[in-house]
């Protein structure tokens, strides 16, 4: 019964050991250190930070590919156009559907697998070995592979359905109704391992003694999960879910290979949309504006969600 009142684990000794030199205030760096840092810092500034700022700036210009006339500042015109671009917002809606549709099952399935792997089961090694496959594979190959699975004639999915007497199957990736769900399944499959590994790591941080004590007190599995496991796991779960959501929303290669946005735009994620705008139609400025909107909306959504979750957490305490 003690557990119900003290669900939190004892404070872990935090790694408070400070690095040497930490006490000397906020001096940026000495010469030697600069020498060590510059080789990485320069490329980061030139090829990451710079382009990012440049990209944001481009969103306020009429930059196009292969144009001879000089690029001009056009203020927020791109964003005004974007506001009325129903195709883009449709794509954005699909992107959100996809991101939520992938992230949530990904998390739940990964949590289940992590809990299983945290048990003393045989065949754990096999699951660990197999989990490497989706993780290590190039996204393009994942797409190709699932195309083979979904193939209407030579695919194993339809063949299995036929064997089970569940009808003739269908052309999953070109059906208007089935394309997005079919693609979402692939997304879940592809992202499950990383999530599982992260959650498993979190699980192994939960105090075993508390678990045993709770079992002694007669707490059932669900109760133990809620009072012991989840509080310890929550930070990891929040972090990995937020990251997954961002990654999924920005994903490109999988869907590019599976459906290339089809049928009829049913799987045209925002990244695919922006890619076509930029590199098929050459509308650099407009595509950059799309990128900005994607970042902005996702950041706001995540911020709201995270704040909400943290509040929840406080109330539980």
């Amino acid at each position: 019964m003690t557990l119900a009142t003290e669900p939190r684990r004892p404070p872990r000794p935090r790694p408070t050991k400070r690095a040497p030199g930490a006490g000397r205030g906020r001096r940026v760096l000495d010469h030697g250190a600069w020498f060590l840092v510059l080789p990485a810092l320069l490329p980061i500034l030139v090829l990451s930070v710079g382009p990012l700022l440049y990209g944001i700036a481009l969103a306020f210009t009429d930059a196009q590919s292969g144009r001879t006339a000089p690029t001009q500042w056009i203020g927020t015109l791109n964003f005004q156009d974007l506001l009325h671009d129903t195709l883009f917002w449709e794509s954005f809606r699909i992107g959100l559907l996809w991101a939520v549709g992938v992230t949530v099952p990904q998390f739940l399935l990964a949590l289940g697998l992590a809990l299983l792997l945290n048990q003393d089961l045989r065949l754990r090694w096999l699951a660990r070995a197999l989990a490497i496959i989706p993780w290590a594979m190039p996204e393009v190959v994942v797409g190709v592979m699932w195309r083979l699975v979904y193939n209407p004639d030579a695919g194993i999915l339809n063949e299995t359905l036929r064997d089970l007497g569940l009808g003739d199957g269908r052309d999953w990736l070109s059906g208007l109704a089935t394309a997005l769900p079919a693609v979402v399944v692939v997304g879940v499959w592809a992202g499950m391992p990383q999530t599982t590994v992260a959650l498993l790591a979190g699980l192994q941080n939960t105090p075993r003694e508390l678990h045993e004590a709770a079992a002694m007190d007669g707490a059932g599995a669900w109760r133990r999960f809620r009072t012991v496991t989840w509080p310890a796991l929550r930070p990891v779960a929040l972090a990995i879910t937020a990251l997954n959501f961002i990654w999924n929303f920005n994903s490109f290669a999988l869907v590019y290979v599976l459906t290339n946005g089809g049928p009829g735009g049913r799987t045209r994620l925002p990244m695919l949309f922006a890619y076509e705008e930029a590199f098929r139609y050459g509308q650099f400025g407009y595509a950059a504006a799309m990128g900005c909107v994607m970042v902005a909306v996702i950041s706001v959504l995540l911020a709201l969600r995270l704040v909400g979750r943290l509040r929840e957490g406080d109330e539980e305490r």
């Binding site: 400070r18 990485a40 382009p51 048990q119 393009v140 290669a253 994607m294």
Partner: protein, 277 residues
Amino acid sequence: MRTRRTARAGQYLALLAYLVFLAFPFLWLLSTAFKPPRELGSLHPTWIPKDPTLANFRQAFDEQPLLDALLNSLVAAVGAAVVAVLIATPMAYVIARRRTLLARAATGWVVVSQAFPFVLVIIPLFLVLKNLRLIDSVPGLIMVYVVWALPFALWMLVGYVRAVPPELEEAAAVDGAGRARTLVSVTAPLLAPGIVATALFAFVTAWNEFFFALVLLKSPEKQTLPVVLTHFIGAEGVADLGPLAAAAFLATLPSLVIFAVIQKRITGGMLAGAVKN
């Protein structure tokens, strides 16, 4: 006791379901790669090819410039891995050993760089590389891959550096070793396994990458494997399944092998970075 047993059985059943879900697409890819065209055309495909053949592999090399693509991918991935590790290790060392503003900024960048959609970065990169005449060239792609692999490389390496006790370095200093000497003969050997793991991870990241390669490489003879793979799929989405599967399998092999070798270290590195931060 009986409930205990049923619970166990349920757990095994669930684990089995996971195993099937994780494995079956890959097994199907393998099966398709070794099937002769006649079996691929049949309406009732089987799991195990009745008449396994290597013809698909030969045909894949005939249909697309796979050999060029393999070489390009190899050059890009090795180049990116080597350069990334060379420049990331010293920086990771500084971040791990000193708490400065720079370390914080670097950590912030690692996080932020994960959040931005590539499209926002790729257009400026495209323009910049074009001006530098590095577009449609593998060296240009390597530069992009280096920066792209840096966040995670830094993250892993910082974890590994933190695992090396500073006391060792202090002891070396007391014994009269200079700073460079300490780094080379005390710290570096201890870091070596972590550096290798990071390099391999960067290799896989670059080997698998698709989006940048798609945008930045235009000439067919310069494209990397993932891009060439998509050429197997025709305009109407119709693909020659056998060669496609064979080529896809080949493209995956290096990543799978490397990951099998370094899996423990990667998860370890992620944890080290995460826990000690």
